[in-house]
Symmetry: C2
Subunit: 211 residues, 2 copies
């Protein structure tokens, strides 16, 4: 415990902010260096003192915690951000991760779990409340409904669609595959019929599984 992990807290609710500060400061090996009521206050003062870990509430008045992380991560790349929220809503989780957060825990976590999470985060891990982690894991699962659509395409059609998805034109694909441009156009036409679309972008979106 030579040098304690320095922590900052961004949380608008007085009671929670104080509780967290006391918990962190009271524990061995941790030092609560600053607390802020708003995202704006954190943005003003944190860049100067770049702490190790920031506990960030999401539902703040004014700027929300996610946008705050997005900005702070630019200014303090070394600082680790732990989102700390009441709810486990789908969208916010992914937005927070995109913004640069490396941990996401629910406020209902027991105190010792919280301290453990801070340590893990500081050591290069990414602690997640398990329900949060499940959401993330699920987002990787291949959906069992979609794949059939692409199954009805022939290998040649998939080949062409793949090249279209990389931004190549009829002519370019034809040259790459050593066939006539009209052939490629015919294939594309067939692909559209099978996938029930009417443009390259719609076809590519289906191909890449994003609609």
């Amino acid at each position: 415990m030579n040098t304690p992990i320095t922590v900052a807290i961004v949380e608008d609710k007085e009671l929670i902010r104080q509780s967290l500060a006391i918990l962190v400061d009271g524990a061995d090996g941790f030092a609560c260096q600053a607390t802020f009521e708003t995202a704006e206050a954190a943005l003003d003062h944190l860049p100067g003192q770049c702490v190790d870990v920031v506990l960030m509430d999401i539902d703040l008045p004014g700027m929300n915690g996610i946008d705050c992380v997005r900005h702070l991560k630019q200014l303090c790349p070394a600082t680790q951000f732990m989102m700390c929220t009441m709810y486990d809503e789908d969208e916010t989780v992914f937005e927070a991760l995109k913004a640069g957060a490396n941990a996401y825990i629910l406020k209902r976590s027991p105190p010792h779990k919280l301290l453990e999470a801070i340590t893990e985060l500081h050591e290069g891990g990414s602690p997640m409340s398990s329900t949060i982690a499940r959401k993330i894991a699920s987002s990787f699962h291949i959906s069992p409904t979609a794949p059939n659509e692409l199954d009805i395409l022939t290998p040649r059609e998939r080949e062409i669609l793949d090249r279209l998805s990389k931004g190549h034109s009829h002519k370019e694909v034809a040259a790459e595959l050593f066939v006539s441009p009209t052939t490629v156009r015919k294939h594309i036409f067939n692909i559209y019929e099978k996938l029930q679309v009417h443009s390259k972008i719609e076809a590519v979106n289906k191909y890449l599984g994003r609609k």
Copy 2:
């Protein structure tokens, strides 16, 4: 602890398999119902007895653990799979998640952590070793090189690009935004210049962050 969590273990190394079985069976609330040396053996016998949780090694002789999960997940959708491996290589993590695994821990985890993870997994969580979780979290981060590209677009240009990405033509976008089609075309032209691309698909690929 009314009904214990039933567990199966797939692991080729005798010593590790035995250790895990003893650990699980010895703990309160857990029951090790089967152990297998190979993926093939698990595929043969598991579907009949569908346990709650399967601990799956990845580096198996013959079929690897990831492909094994891919097949078993179809046959036993209710069973939860925990990948259990020595190394934390990038690709295998994501492949395992895609295959349907909901937990991924390193073998070096202490025994009590392992039991805790099994419980969490069974209760709907997705326990991950923290270094694994970091990899996953990082995969969501917007790369620090790319974002500038989209930042140089104006809000209006992003709006238009977003609609293009949904497969709308410039005419449709014009109608949606109540402006002239020529205006939309001008915007699109400006977008191409800023992103250094020459077609819709290339622009949309950059917009959606996949090149």
